[in-house]
Symmetry: C2
Subunit: 481 residues, 2 copies
Amino acid sequence: MEHTRIKQLLIAEDFGQEVIVKGWVRTFRNNQFIAINDGSTLNNIQAVVDFENTDEQLLRRVTTGAAVRVKGELIQSLGKGQRVEIKVNELTILGDSDPEKYPLQPKKHSLEFLREIAHLRFRTGTFNAIFKVRNALAFAVHQFFNERDFVYMHTPIVTGSDAEGAGEMFRVTTIDFDNVPRNEDGTVNYKEDFFGKSTNLTVSGQLEGELAAMALGNIYTFGPTFRAENSNTTRHLAEFWMIEPEMAFYELEDNMDLAEELLKYVINYALKNCPDEIAFLSNRLVEEEKSKPQSERSEMNLVDKLQFVLTNDFERVTYTDAIEILKRSKPNQKKQFKYLIEEWGADLQSEHERYLVEKHFKKPVILTDYPREIKSFYMKQNEPDAQGRHTVRAMDILFPGIGEMVGGSQREENLEKLLARMAEVGIPEHEIDWFLDTRRFGSAPHSGFGVGFERLVLFTTGMSNIRDVIPFPRTPKNAEF
Amino acid sequence: MEHTRIKQLLIAEDFGQEVIVKGWVRTFRNNQFIAINDGSTLNNIQAVVDFENTDEQLLRRVTTGAAVRVKGELIQSLGKGQRVEIKVNELTILGDSDPEKYPLQPKKHSLEFLREIAHLRFRTGTFNAIFKVRNALAFAVHQFFNERDFVYMHTPIVTGSDAEGAGEMFRVTTIDFDNVPRNEDGTVNYKEDFFGKSTNLTVSGQLEGELAAMALGNIYTFGPTFRAENSNTTRHLAEFWMIEPEMAFYELEDNMDLAEELLKYVINYALKNCPDEIAFLSNRLVEEEKSKPQSERSEMNLVDKLQFVLTNDFERVTYTDAIEILKRSKPNQKKQFKYLIEEWGADLQSEHERYLVEKHFKKPVILTDYPREIKSFYMKQNEPDAQGRHTVRAMDILFPGIGEMVGGSQREENLEKLLARMAEVGIPEHEIDWFLDTRRFGSAPHSGFGVGFERLVLFTTGMSNIRDVIPFPRTPKNAEF
């Protein structure tokens, strides 16, 4: 490797050394100052060309986006805002970039425009910062679980089961639409399909995760999951990454402790390891919000919001108590909520979740013990309360701005109770017979939760559209690149 | 958390303390000795019951697979092969396991049988060890790249493109087989499909990885990839995980250096962090091979094989030289190869790769500069040699026993050469127009490679069937659990 990465050079102390840099031209000013970026950092290095002694033809090829190799002396910079620069002795164009055709110019592009050229948006400061933060968060997730002896499990992507008992799914098939094999009764004969049965893309690795946890103790998944929902919003993706830990012998309290610890750990890791990126994104957000009316601007800047999560103990409150708080709240009384809270049993909307976090408790909130009817079949059933209301040992963690960040529960370990609930919601026993074996043989209390990774990246970067925090978003009518 | 994990207890020094253990019964001997495993380690802890003062009904429920909670005193063990044991004061059954029905009994089960109950096989020593090693390798991959400032990229799983220009793919769709939307000419109208076009499961993240590398510098992917090939072998899966780094400004030498470094790093990490597991798997292999004739047994045991990779510099040799070696080799002369090497241009089989590694060089081997015709369109084209033969800057890393472990190349950065090659092999320009932008705007030398993660786990665990190193294997006619 003959070159040095810019990230290293920008903190180098040994001025006078000869260095080689390879990267892409961000700007070229006064026929003299090339700002070069090689992706290793958000920041560019300045290369100063002796233009009077450089071939004019060559200089004309120094255009935004061109790949260059620069050899020269690393010197202290006299320019503002930079410590070092390179006095160029040798300039080579590795790859041209026709300024008439190159879509990225040194000016502000809208996020909408950049989404259309998602294959080039990595070349901007904003997306460099976003994907560095995303990378830091992903690594922190692995490090967190590794330090705690959790086993990383790759649960299957193609599956014959629907873990949540809900959610629209994508079919995975090798059947030819022009030649569909049929049974005698006219139905599709999936025995002829690749896997010999009807298969889908997974919506969650939880059920398989439970199998592993009930043997290995503590496990986690971190992989892609899918929803074929026709939701064109800033919060939905058809393909997204989920983190799903599952722990044998954990009860709900242990589950909440772990989830709170995880979120604080990974956000703290990103803050520590990506200070430049987060400062850049924080400024970006302030700039973006300047065009909004005061009332719509964030009360906290990005760094404050991250600190808000790090420094507060998450408030733990039952759904039942939360409903009372919401009922009596000003926006409910004044009918400012879009969905008014009238009675126990209502599903909470993002506006309610945000009220609890941002206005009432002024802390991240963990809501527990939700009504059984609005939660999944596998959650541990509480004894009915004095009014005969049924709740489950669920917990959702709510964050400012974004609402639900984590959803989890203690699992129902009692086979009879689980079967009864499955019958009520219409899940046939034979479909997940293998899952039920965990309750037949050595059942025990256990718990787990799921974190939508893109939500976490959204929160940590302060971006507002989930399509901007995954390299190539998949949404209805869109699977470009 | 009231309990302590067995992994901690087995190395504890403070005898006499009261401890609580939760786990599953592996064996129960003499109505007195319970071997308990909680998954945290391969090893069990022994709990000694005072059977004369314990309820008989309770003792009868201590069966293999039952979940128990044990409270007692941690004491030094007098038994052979163990330092500590628990003198039980309190025994609770958390979940029963009916010995008439529980499929895992304390005896040797065949790997074939365990594959059928893949949801329970995590409860065996062998699979505990395998998935601990798999976990260690996965973490090591992330740590390796994190230490080198590579950015982890989640490239898309659902894609409209076929990165390799080859390989059978799975369709991803929400179209109903009973109601297929058609165009006027009778073809399927994919505009009506979820993504508005025909989509598949990815076969490689490379092309998208290149987009990111040509902006962020060094990136890697680590995610699931798919092949709809009807191959029912011990080496093929329909769903498997791949690691694909891609580096801007890397030439083939740099690429080989990185790949060799990565493999040594992760195998060394597993050896250091899973010594018990690897020793267990090494013994397992020796036992397994006892039933084979001497000639079919491995020459090296598992640890030797891992050391073989760690201690040798990988031999770097061109395809052209390797063909000469193979032509002149004994097994070729004596017609012992199944596929005889007769001329330049032949694709190498596993038997040839293993000959080079195990017999000729006695080192891992990196073969470079393969014939253009047997490699992918995106590989950098060499100048034709004196005989006019065309080769590309490919490199494959070959390992003992297993053959190809890594496949990679320097990429063709020249737009005209790339287009010419695409035309020759019949890839329409418009299909990967976005990919070609990397060569249109600031093109530069770059390289990358792919590691099949399950192959790596197979090698490091000494297992022989790839279905035994992934939690829930997907193969033709099989997507259970």
